[in-house]
Subunit: 134 residues, 2 copies
């Protein structure tokens, strides 16, 4: 336990948190490569995610740890955490249960510029009312 | 030209730029799904990227438009631009020429947490000295 915490702290030391103590994290489905969402993590969220293997973000609106899927069941199991060259962005390879987006879509990136217009390219797979904002 | 500019402005209106007028953009190789890098764009960078089809960021360190690959030749051709549900992150599907990272690696995300340690998982494909910081 002590060893695990200290190696996690060594990893945290490589992350350049912004002045608010946050770092953006990209969640990518590990096998398909689909980019699912981007959210923020503070040191506690990183620590919890590495320790439990379940992705936990920091909710800027609620100012609280956001255990992804805790209320909705749409959890993200961590497959691998990566960090970029300057340490200011994380890439989380995950196994997404259900959908990542609060709109009920698999990915938050469901709008694309095509023929000069912003169009919706995927529809909800789950009724957002069933997600409880989780 | 006028039409193209006005539709671009309609797209810009959907982007939630931060207080500094910036939005993070993820570059992803369009066919392999590899996440290459994350950088920032301001409205001018978005406009130029959509207009030219060559990815242009905003360099926070240089406080100037950063035409990716202009000096290094490691350009990113835009395949499709996407935006997330709350409009505060862009996902750029690109065709990366050469390498995205200034270290000479294909991707900036070349360090991963494995067995509780941060390890390097890919080596440079290009000598960084040949990239001119571009």
């Amino acid at each position: 336990m002590t060893d695990q915490l200290s190696t996690t702290d060594a990893i945290l030391a490589e992350i350049s948190f912004d002045p608010a103590g946050l770092v953006p994290a990209i969640a990518q489905q590990h096998d398909t490569g689909e980019v699912l969402m981007v959210a923020w993590m503070n040191a506690d969220a990183v620590r919890e995610t590495l320790f439990t293997g379940q992705v936990c973000y920091w909710s800027r609106s609620r100012q609280a740890l956001w255990r992804k899927g805790e209320s909705s069941g749409q959890t993200q199991q961590l497959v691998e955490a990566r960090i970029d060259c300057d340490g200011d962005t994380l890439l989380l390879l995950v196994d997404q249960t259900g959908v990542a987006c609060h709109t009920g879509r698999r990915t938050c990136f469901y709008r694309a510029v095509r023929d000069g217009k912003l169009v919706t390219i995927s529809e909800p797979a789950v009724d957002p009312a069933d997600l409880y904002g989780g």
